[in-house]
């Protein structure tokens, strides 16, 4: 199959590449661009490990076809240290022991980033709803929700 050109903004930088249109966004990120921070868990949109932010919304990159990246603004875990929200989230996750094995962490951070970008001071209930599509088998979720809540407290109005 002939390749298709894609132009998009990834973590604040313009990217132009040619990809096989049968690829998923997850494959483009991990294999074509070498950004392996985004994880593949279930591959059917149920675990949230592959969550990235596409045009301001958290999406499962295993269920986005490559062509849908064209013209989009995309953030992955690799871009988070360049953003204020991302840096605060990182600190709060580390300080709050919200990371154990770490496999789910990039997905949680991206869901949290999408939430805090729209709603910098969410309630615990809003946080729980925003990360409802992310599965963690280690922490029991409480430290994760608390870390995101803490990040919200640290963010300026």
């Amino acid at each position: 199959m002939s390749k298709i050109p894609l132009n998009f903004r990834l973590n604040g930088k313009d990217v132009s590449i040619e990809v096989d249109p049968g690829r998923r966004m997850l494959d483009v990120l991990r294999e074509d661009l070498g950004l392996t921070g985004t994880k593949e868990g279930c591959a059917v949109g149920e675990c949230g490990a592959c969550t990235v932010v596409l045009n301001g919304e958290a999406v499962a990159s295993c269920l986005v076809l490559a062509g849908q990246m064209d013209g989009a603004e995309i953030y992955t875990i690799e871009g988070m240290s360049e953003t204020q929200i991302g840096r605060i989230l990182q600190d709060c996750f580390v300080e709050g022991d919200a990371v154990q094995c770490g496999f789910c962490t990039p997905g949680f951070i991206m869901s949290a980033y999408a939430l805090l970008k729209k709603n910098p001071h969410p309630t615990r209930e809003q946080i729980r709803e925003a990360v409802a599509g992310n599965v963690c088998r280690c922490t029991g979720y409480v430290p994760i929700v608390s870390a995101i809540e803490k990040a919200g407290e640290k963010l300026p109005d």
Binding site: M1, I4, P21, G22, R23, R24, A43, V44, G45, E46, G48, T51, L54, E57, A58, V59, A60, C62, L63, V64, L65, G67, Q68, D70, S111, A114, E129, A130, A132, G133, N134
Partner: protein, 290 residues
């Protein structure tokens, strides 16, 4: 994902002309959250051309006429759930869209895709049924409108062809002062496939007499259905406990009548009876929705 070729289109016109030109089978891909999962089963789409309609501006957004809400087929579940217009004029649909999948799925999956996939467990369908939804379909430039019930034939099967593009979903605005309710029974909150949904729309006059009543279930019947006999049961009445019990009994009897006796029937019937009773009692108790 394995397919023969890929075509991205930016407008309905471009889509129609692509559908005219392409030879062989086509898969219309909107959000793709169902198609990409199904594509993992063998070589299902190996000989198909994928026409990617994601983000076509004309297919996105929600508008209103005097009596109807017009929802672009490419509107996501998150956009519908968050729309003040839908919340106000068709709240049952906002509630239903809010329970679909997870935030990640709701942000990408579209209402048109949910209909085209025709999963019997699709959360939007029972809500669309009580709102007497119709869909607008563009077949190679020819536009027709049809009731949702006629568009879905049976589980995962629509009456639409692969050149039929769902462009809009049209629902009736609920009468002023109406109450609605959407109940979902799943194994957990997020990402659970519905075992049963119940969508209800009810309006009463000043005396408390029921003027409008629609109540149906999702994830239970092979397609979205409304039942005239059920809907007539409360009209003109100030419903008593016995009237509510009668509706609960009648609706639960539809399960074996329509879906046949299945392993889940012994479980679903009592849940249906109990929930119908609870929902109607609450709704008639004056707890106005929003």
């Amino acid at each position: 994902m394995e397919f023969q070729s890929y075509k991205k289109v930016g407008s309905v016109e471009e889509c129609v002309s692509a559908l005219k030109q392409i030879e062989g089978g086509v898969v219309l891909l909107a959000g793709g959250t169902d198609v990409l999962v199904k594509a993992r089963e063998g070589h299902r789409y190996a000989d198909k051309t994928v026409v990617d309609i994601y983000g076509i501006p004309e297919l996105c957004g929600i508008s209103e006429t005097e009596t109807e809400l017009v929802i672009g087929a490419g509107t996501t579940h998150a956009q519908i759930a968050g729309s003040p217009l839908v919340r106000w004029q068709a709240g049952v649909l906002a509630d239903a869209c809010r329970t679909v999948g997870s935030p990640q799925i709701r942000n990408h999956a579209t209402i048109g895709g949910n209909i085209a996939n025709a999963s019997p467990a699709a959360d939007s369908l029972a809500a669309l049924a009580v709102l007497e939804a119709e869909i607008e379909v563009n077949h190679l430039g020819e536009i027709r409108r049809m009731p949702l019930e006629d568009a879905i034939e049976k589980p995962y099967r629509t009456t639409l062809g692969d050149r039929d593009l769902i462009t809009r979903v049209i629902v009736k605005k609920i009468p002023h002062g109406s109450r609605c309710n959407f109940y979902k029974l799943g194994r957990r909150n997020a990402l659970s496939i519905s075992r049963m949904t119940i969508a209800t729309l009810l309006n009463t006059d000043e005396a408390g007499k029921v003027t409008t009543f629609h109540m149906t279930m999702g994830a239970t019947f092979p397609k979205p259905m409304l039942f005239d006999d059920i809907d007539q049961m409360l009209i003109g009445k100030i419903p008593s406990e016995a009237d509510i019990d009668a509706v609960a009994e009648a609706l639960s009897n539809k399960i074996p009548q329509i879906a046949g006796i299945r392993p889940s029937t012994v479980y679903k019937q009592p849940v249906c009876r109990k929930m119908v009773k609870r929902i109607l009692t609450q709704m008639l108790g004056g707890n106005e929705h929003e």
